[in-house]
């Protein structure tokens, strides 16, 4: 079967799954398992496409439908870049759906009729976004994605917070989509077609003939994709919208959907935009936007109390890393393809890694919410680690991964990004400066996740009515994601091989060196140029040393001290204090930070100006034109009718007057 048939089947399965789960919606679990089956089966088909594309190259493009009058055609073409994103989406979608089966049993009142069907349509929409090679249908699928995810955001429609978040989400993203649509139309005016290749030609042509228009189109595309990716300030919808969605959906948003902003960015700036001076300019813009977002987003995360909101701000911050890396890559692409390739590899690899740990983190938060009903760190009892060991373990792995602690996957992609920035110093000193800022933010990330881990899982366990660990179907996705974080960290070369194919498939980056020349052939990463080793990352030995060191500390120190392990109450100087009272609350973490950065993301209050009253009056012609006119006619009619008095003498008089008048006129006309 060809790519297009497989994808059609996958989408068909998802739509069928949506219909069946809608029909079964009365039973929360039956609908859930139906969705799992449909998403799983379609995920399998997508994975077949991915494996075939990455192993034996992309299938030729297929056209399913076309609208000739506007030069749009529904074409399906899965190249290596699409394949990498398809794999991510299919995997995360399956895990999130599996997680949802038990999780959604919380919502007995709301039901799942508005959850599983919408979720499956969303996944189908995303498959469409990634698989098409026509910008018009790209936009159509893009909007399907926005539309369906909106209904997931307002799932708990009853609360005003939820409604407001949903409205903001949809309107902002619709604005972004319209910006992209305008950009598409600008290019279409030149090309007459929406095919990616035609748009590339059109943009190249415009850059030469009318550079201002070309840059306008690029700006619109940038705004569109950056908004979806949550880049600040356009992305301020994100921390409102994601927490509002149910846990499984939020994990899918954070892990997979946001990433499509990066996909679109790569398409726009490395496929539509031919390699030119504009690439460098926009590279700087993208890197700057990324830097700003990772800085502000992560610092904002530090002071959050709502767990899901905290993670949403991290989603923004992490997106900043990807933008920074891709920006680095674009800046260097023309002058130093070697370093540019490192940057692009780092950026796209970070997408994959982020998908793993970010959805993992959202799932752990959802698991905690499922058992305790709480998302607020201040209200969480703490000490859950004792009862929910699996969730806690997964949360630790994912937290360390997002903070870039070696040997987990977050480190390997960040390592690539940092290597690009530091080695790029000879191009511009701004690169290492930005890199330093990004490194600092890694620390902030770690700090804010210590807050999450500390406030949720550590501390004195509550004795009465302790929560239980979540069910296996909720544990499994978390475990898979945590293990994947570890695997991608220990063996980064394997996924990087696929990512390299994706980078090489981008027309503007087709000149990048082969993977072996970039990073060596070993299981680790080694950047060597002209035989000189410039940077090495060997995860396996480092991990081994870390494990040994850890064991030594744990065992060795204990044995050396020869201290027996005792279980005792915390000594509170003899006073009677309940554990809650001496617990260091998460809200007090980093208070100085909070105060120092209180205004880092100012809230602007904007009120629309009142509609000018005179204009309002002019726009109501009833009042000053039609009604007076009608009244005038009415009055005139009444005037005429006043002559009808019903007295015969008066009518006779009129007749006499009339005759006199006629005779007078005749006489006058005769003379």
């Amino acid at each position: 079967m060809t790519t297009v048939v497989l994808l059609e089947l996958a989408v068909l399965l998802l739509v069928a799954g949506a219909v069946v789960s809608l029909a079964l919606a009365r039973s929360l679990r039956a609908a859930g398992w139906t969705a799992v089956a449909a998403v799983g089966a379609s995920g399998l088909l997508v994975w077949i496409v991915v494996v075939r594309t990455l192993s034996s190259g992309p299938d030729p493009e297929a056209t399913l439908a076309s609208i000739p009058s506007i030069g749009a055609a529904l074409t399906v073409h899965v190249d290596a870049l699409s394949a990498v994103f398809l794999a991510t989406v299919a995997t995360i979608a399956f895990l999130c759906t599996l997680f949802s089966v038990e999780y959604m049993t919380r919502f007995t009142a709301d039901g799942v009729a508005k959850y599983y069907p919408v979720l499956q349509l969303l996944i189908a929409g995303i498959v469409g976004v990634v698989a098409t090679s026509d910008f018009f249908f790209f936009l159509v699928f893009w909007e399907v994605m926005t539309l369906t995810s909106f209904f997931l955001v307002i799932y708990e429609g009853g609360s005003p917070v939820c409604q407001k978040a949903g409205l903001k989400y949809f309107v902002v993203n619709q604005g972004a989509a319209l910006a992209m649509l305008a950009a598409g139309l600008i290019l279409w005016r030149v090309s007459g077609s929406f095919h990616f290749g035609a748009l590339r030609d059109a943009l190249g042509q415009l850059l030469e003939t009318r550079p201002a228009v070309a840059h306008l189109a690029l700006l619109l595309l940038f705004l569109g994709f950056a908004t979806k990716a949550g880049i600040l300030p356009m992305g301020s919808w994100l921390p409102d919208a994601y927490p509002a969605a149910p846990g499984g959906a939020a994990a899918f948003f954070g892990g997979a959907m946001t990433k499509l902003g990066v996909y679109g960015l790569l398409r726009a700036f490395l496929v539509f935009l031919p390699l030119s001076g504009a690439t460098v300019v926009w590279g700087w813009v993208i890197a700057a936007a990324g830097l700003g977002s990772l800085f502000v987003g992560t610092l904002m995360a530090l002071k959050q109390d709502d767990v899901k909101r905290l993670m949403s701000f991290h989603a923004i911050g992490q997106m900043g890393y990807m933008f920074l890396a891709i920006g680095f890559g674009m800046v260097l692409l023309a002058t130093d393809p070697f370093l540019a390739a490192l940057g692009l590899l780092g950026g796209i690899f970070h997408v994959l890694n982020n998908a793993l740990y970010k959805s993992g983190l959202f799932l752990t938060a959802a698991a905690v919410e499922y058992r305790t009903g709480e998302r607020s760190l201040a209200a969480l009892p703490g000490g859950l680690g004792a009862y929910m060991a699996v969730t806690a373990g997964c949360a630790v792995v994912a937290s360390l991964a997002i903070a870039g602690v070696p040997p987990l996957n977050g480190f390997s992609s960040k390592w690539l990004i940092y290597a690009t920035g530091i080695l790029g110093a000879k191009e511009s000193t701004l690169l290492p400066v930005a890199t330093l800022a990004a490194m600092f933010i890694s620390l902030v990330t770690l700090a804010s996740f210590l807050k999450y881990l500390g406030g949720t899982f550590l501390g004195v366990p509550r004795k009465n009515d302790p929560p239980r660990e979540v069910s296996v179907s909720m544990q499994l996705p978390q475990i898979v994601l945590a293990l994947a974080c570890l695997a991608f960290g220990l063996f980064p070369a394997v996924p990087l091989g696929f990512v390299h194919q994706a980078v090489a498939s981008l027309p503007s980056a087709s000149g990048v060196p082969a993977l072996g020349a970039l990073l060596g052939d070993g299981s680790g990463l080694g950047v060597a140029r002209a035989g000189v080793e410039m940077a090495i990352w060997a995860p396996l030995p480092v991990a081994a040393v870390l494990v040994l060191l850890g064991l030594f500390c744990y065992r060795g120190i204990q044995r050396a001290g020869d201290a027996p392990i005792r279980e005792v109450q915390v000594w509170t100087c003899g006073e009677e204090v309940r554990p809650e009272e001496y617990r260091y609350p998460p809200g007090s973490f980093y208070r100085p930070f909070k105060e120092a950065f209180s205004g880092i993301y100012p809230k602007a209050a904007w009120r629309p100006p009142p509609f000018p009253v005179p204009l309002r009056r002019i726009l109501d012609p009833d009042a000053w034109l039609y009604l007076p006119l009608v009244r005038g006619v009415e009055r005139a009619a009444r005037g005429v009718s006043r002559t009808h008095v019903g007295v015969p003498q008066v009518y006779l008089l009129w007749m006499v007057v009339g005759v006199v008048a006629v005779v007078a006129i005749l006489l006058l006309a005769g003379s």
Partner: protein, 490 residues
């Protein structure tokens, strides 16, 4: 064969209308069933006729009549079915049928908004079917003369239907609609008088045979007529007042069909010989743009759900006229998009009106501020309303996206700075209108349920099925519409 079928599309509802008069004494049920049957048959015929148009193009059957000496050109009366006619015919008959169906449940004692007893219902169906026949006549008219005759018939029927409740307000509203649309009709009459005097023909391409300034005037007069009928600036004031009509009537006349007659006239005039002066086209486009924006500015002060929808209709008729104007300025895609918008908007807006009707039926109010949390008790209506909002504001894959996109693409083909201006303003309008409609939808259907909302129920029987059919239509009509409009001018 086709001709006979087409003629039947006009004759059948007339027969239905007459039969309602005779069936009236036997009770409401019979009247309603007869009306529905007539409408259903008409819709089937029309759909078949539309299908037959695909791939074939124009079909006409004309008959001459020894009436006016000096007529040249093709016959005086007859039917013409081309892609443009097929588009309007589909809207008129399919939504017409759904309206009749909806009305059979809506006109009941149990209607909390406006209880309707059995008396007077025959009058309702009579005028409704008569209106459908006149609209079909407008769609199938082969020349300006016949178009004018049926055009005025729709005005008369609309007067009767708006005033159906016979309250003081509805009588006034009906009279106002009659006056304003008929004043526009006088300009139409003027235009065809000039046309006949100078060319001896009423054909749609006759204006192209006129010389410079006269052609200018003829198109100008037709434009004024279209503005009045389609409630465009400065004649927009009758449409919001006409919301006094029963809701199915508002859905049908003031969203799907009668106001579309105005834009249809312009589409006919422009595509007749593609001879409209481009300057007039630019004027039409600018006025349409102004109308779109002015109508938008009225959204925010509306509390009556139906009035909000009325202003939205005014804006969307502006969209259609904008597309048509682009045709006059040489942008084929824009014209096709405008015509497609007739179909797409018809279904989307009818869905919204029918939802407003269902809400009023169940709660007794249409005030946005008094409604909240209806989704819990009226899930189907809520779903339909959101589908309607998404369809009308042009979110893919729903209907109006496809037509709006073609209009936007058409704008890019308009030479000079006007094209990009149109693009930017339309995009801004789309976003603001979308945001507001979504906000209203959330306000009415989500949030804490009011007491009335807790008592409310999804509408009964045929109303429910109408909503389902319209939802499907809001998603699927572009599949029919796009191939049809591609045949125009190609």
């Amino acid at each position: 064969m086709l001709t006979a079928a087409l003629a039947m599309v006009i004759v059948l509802p007339v027969l239905g209308a007459v039969s309602t008069r005779f069936l009236a004494p036997r009770g409401v049920r019979g009247t309603a069933v007869a009306a529905s049957l007539a409408a259903a048959l008409m819709a089937c015929w029309a759909v078949w006729a539309g299908w037959a148009t695909l791939g074939v193009g124009n079909r006409a059957a004309l008959f001459d009549m020894a009436w006016l000496p000096g007529t040249s050109g093709s016959g005086l009366f007859g039917v013409l079915l081309d892609p443009l006619a097929a588009v309007l015919l589909l809207v008129v008959t399919v939504i017409g049928f759904l309206t009749v169906l909806y009305s059979t449940s809506y006109l009941r004692e149990g209607n909390r908004d406006h209880a309707v007893g059995p008396e007077g219902q025959a009058r309702y169906y009579f005028w409704l079917l008569a209106f459908m026949a006149s609209m079909a006549g407008v769609a199938l008219a082969p020349n300006f003369l016949q178009l004018f005759v049926f055009w005025e018939l729709t005005t008369v029927c609309s007067w009767a239907l708006i005033s159906y409740y016979r309250s003081e307000k509805s009588l006034r509203a009906g009279f106002k609609a009659l006056l304003m649309t008929h004043s526009g009709g006088i300009f139409f009459l003027l235009a065809i008088l000039i046309l006949f005097a100078k060319t001896g023909s009423f054909d749609f391409d006759a204006p192209s045979r006129l010389d410079g300034s006269l052609r200018f005037w003829v198109y100008g007069f037709l434009m004024v007529a279209a503005w009045a009928k389609a409630a465009q600036l400065p004649f927009h004031t009758w449409l919001p007042d006409a919301m006094e009509a029963p809701t199915p009537i508002s859905a049908y006349l003031h969203a799907a069909s009668m106001v579309k007659a105005g834009v249809f006239l312009m589409a006919r005039a422009v595509s007749g010989g593609w001879a409209m002066p481009p300057e007039l086209g630019a004027l039409l486009a600018v006025m349409a743009l102004v109308t779109v924006l002015v109508a938008l500015s009225f959204y925010f002060v509306q509390d009556d759900l139906k009035r909000l929808l009325a202003y939205s209709t005014i804006a969307h008729l502006g969209y259609v006229l904008l597309g048509v104007a682009m045709g006059a300025m040489g942008s084929q895609v824009g014209f096709q998009g405008g015509v497609l918008h007739i179909l797409c908007h018809g279904f989307g807006k009818a869905t919204l009106f029918m939802c407003a009707g269902a809400v009023a039926y169940a709660t007794g109010t249409r005030s946005i501020s008094a409604l909240s949390g209806l989704a819990k008790t009226m899930p189907l209506t809520a779903a339909a309303f959101f589908v309607g909002v998404l369809a009308v504001t042009g979110i893919p894959p729903f209907s109006c996206f496809w037509s709006k996109f073609m209009i936007l693409a058409g704008a890019m083909r308009v030479p000079g700075p006007l094209g990009p201006t149109i693009l930017v303003l339309l995009l801004a309008e789309s976003l603001v209108a979308f945001g507001w409609m979504l906000h209203v939808g959330q306000k009415v259907f989500f949030g804490a349920p009011t007491e009335a909302a807790l008592m409310a129920k999804d509408p009964p029987g045929t109303m429910k099925w109408t909503l389902v059919a319209l939802m499907a239509g809001s998603l699927l009509v572009p599949l029919v519409g796009i191939p049809l409009v591609h045949m125009i001018g190609g």
